[in-house]
């Protein structure tokens, strides 16, 4: 028995030694990097790190704490593309002494914050016009409501649209980037809040004129609007499901069992297609020129985004379906 115990002990010791040997071997196998980081514009040496493990970049937080990681852009070439958070020193085309170039991206703000702010604005602003809060229209109309039922319907649709967007931002979307430049929030809010005020002013005006073809026109418009809202939501869910939680993988989106996603056969960015459709519906419903302008400007911007996304899909995936257009089937 004693013999067995001693055997077990030596076994255990050997196991422990074996593990130690393994870690020692690993330690030897790890090549430590020396990293120097230069400013991309001035080429000044910003910091020098030795004995860096071959793990991810985003190193400079230690040397210059005011440049938090989200605003760091680190690249191999001063004019080249920024490296990603996931990039690992070992896999980069550098020697054991690596030189990186640093660029300050400026103050950053999270995508979620921007989206919530830019969508909450239109929701509240429109309601202010709908309830005819003082100092907008002549005082005799303060806190009155419009006599046209289409105005009430329009308020419900507009509000529903932005509530949907807010909820999607909180619960549906999975963002690739954590942050964007701070100045974007001012630009975006001016756009959304400004247009919302401009549209709401006319739709809720005491002298508002309802659509020429009356109930027929409004009903048709409502059907288009709702169809496209459901469609847009379906696409957002489909895109979310492409990406497991917390990951940043990119895959080709395909039609699912949901018929609203079958449009993926013809279009790369059907979320934008449905969004355009929703606003066309809203334009038809309100027969309001500022709404038409808003729809047009949004369409132009979304087309730019759709074309860029389409191009990046084509670049990234060799087997990308050739039948698809960026935003409008066969057309654009």
């Amino acid at each position: 028995r004693l013999k067995k115990e001693r055997e077990r002990e030596t076994d255990r010791e050997r196991q422990r030694e074996g593990r130690n040997m393994d870690t020692l071997a690993l330690e030897k196998a790890v090549v430590f990097f020396e990293v120097e980081i230069l400013d991309a514009k001035t080429k000044d040496k910003l910091c020098f790190l030795d004995k860096v493990r071959p793990t991810s970049t985003k190193l400079c937080a230690a040397c210059y704490p005011q440049w938090y990681p989200a605003r760091q852009s680190i690249r191999l070439d001063p004019k080249g593309k920024s490296l990603k958070d996931e990039d690992v020193l070992q896999h980069l085309p550098v020697g054991t002494t690596a030189t990186f170039y640093f660029r300050d991206l400026g103050a950053q703000i999270s995508w979620v914050t921007v989206f919530l702010t830019e969508y909450a604005g239109p929701l509240l602003i429109y309601l202010m016009f709908y309830f005819r809060v003082p100092f907008i229209y002549p005082p005799k109309y303060d806190f009155t409501t419009s006599k046209h039922w289409v105005v009430h319907l329009a308020c419900m649709c507009h509000s529903f649209h932005y509530v949907k967007r807010l909820l999607e931002t909180l619960f549906v979307h999975r963002f690739s980037h954590g942050t964007m430049p701070l100045r974007n929030i001012f630009k975006n809010c001016t756009y959304y809040w400004g247009f919302a005020a401009w549209m709401a002013y006319y739709i809720n005006h005491p002298l508002y004129t309802p659509p020429t073809y009356g109930e027929q026109q409004v009903k048709m418009a409502l059907i288009i609007f709702l169809f496209c809202q459901i469609g847009n939501f379906s696409i957002h869910i489909a895109l979310r499901n492409l990406r497991p939680p917390g990951s940043k993988t990119r895959k080709i989106p395909y039609p699912t069992k949901n018929p609203f996603t079958w449009i993926f056969l013809l279009v790369s960015c059907p979320n934008y297609t449905y969004e355009l459709g929703s606003w066309l519906g809203f334009t038809l419903m309100t027969q309001c020129l500022p709404v038409a302008f808003f729809t047009l400007v949004g369409f132009i911007q979304m087309t730019v985004w759709a074309k860029a996304k389409h191009r990046s899909y084509l670049k990234e995936f060799r087997d990308y379906p050739p039948l698809r257009s960026p935003i409008l089937p066969f057309v654009l």
Binding site: Y202, I203, H205, Y208, T209, T286, Q287, C288, L289, P290
Partner: protein, 244 residues
């Protein structure tokens, strides 16, 4: 800059650049030379017209009428420059050029032409003279640049005359818009009121006031940009002469 750089550019100097630049092609260059020569000639016609009318009448008053047609023709013709940028034969930004040309066209048609009462104002002469001298220099600058034979005098003039002409033109423009305001308000020119079936309204009077206000942030930016360009373009030559 959206297009590949030309042999010479509107604002940056050629000197010191060792990069190989793709030109706009011989056909495009020939077209641009013709365009710029025609525009130079056109604005010279306006200049001559102004001088002759002044000598004939003996006063500055009402000279607008003597050059109204060529002014409208050649200033509107400048819209082609937006096309040149869009197509890529000129390496400037479409947005910037568009903005500059549209503001000129706006003043020519939507203010001076549309509000007759304003046409006899002296402020109109102020900006017409400023535009005329500026355009003659600018278009001859482009012509010579395209032919790669830019006399220093033209380059100097282009980057120096603006110091006086730009504020002069802006003053004339602002005074003209200001003079047009009462007539626009009285007649409701280009304005749409509620109710109407497109649920839209537009007050041209307010729009003109906002336009005037927009000069406050825009003018200093453009002016200081030109001053910086001047230092860059004319400054180089001084350095070279010093070295020699």
């Amino acid at each position: 800059m959206s297009a590949p750089a030309m042999g010479t550019t509107k604002t940056a100097p050629n000197d010191g650049s060792h990069k190989k630049k793709k030109g706009p092609g011989t056909l495009a260059t020939a077209y641009l030379v013709i365009y710029n020569v025609v525009m130079t000639a056109g604005w010279l016609v306006i200049a001559v017209g102004l001088v002759r009318a002044y000598l004939a009448r003996g006063s500055y008053h009402g000279l607008y009428y003597s050059i109204e047609k060529p002014l409208k023709f050649f200033q509107t013709g400048a819209l082609l420059e937006i096309l040149h940028c869009a197509v890529g034969i000129v390496p400037s930004s479409v947005v910037l050029t568009g903005f500059q040309v549209m503001s000129r066209v706006f003043l020519t048609w939507a203010v001076t032409h549309s509000v007759r009462e304003v046409q006899s104002e002296d402020s109109v002469l102020l900006f017409v003279v400023a535009w005329t001298i500026t355009e003659i220099i600018r278009y001859s600058f482009y012509t010579f640049s395209l032919l790669n034979h830019l006399p220093y005098l033209i380059k100097w003039a282009r980057y120096t005359f603006f110091i006086v002409l730009y504020p002069m033109g802006v003053t004339g423009e602002l005074l003209t818009i200001y003079a047009a305001l009462p007539y626009v308000q009285k007649t409701g020119l280009y304005s749409v009121t509620l109710p109407n079936k497109y649920n839209f309204s537009f007050d041209y009077y307010t729009f003109l006031i906002l336009t005037m206000v927009s000069y406050i942030p825009l003018f200093p930016q453009l002016y200081f940009h030109m001053l910086r360009q001047r230092k860059k373009v004319l400054g180089h030559v001084e350095e070279y002469t010093k070295v020699e």
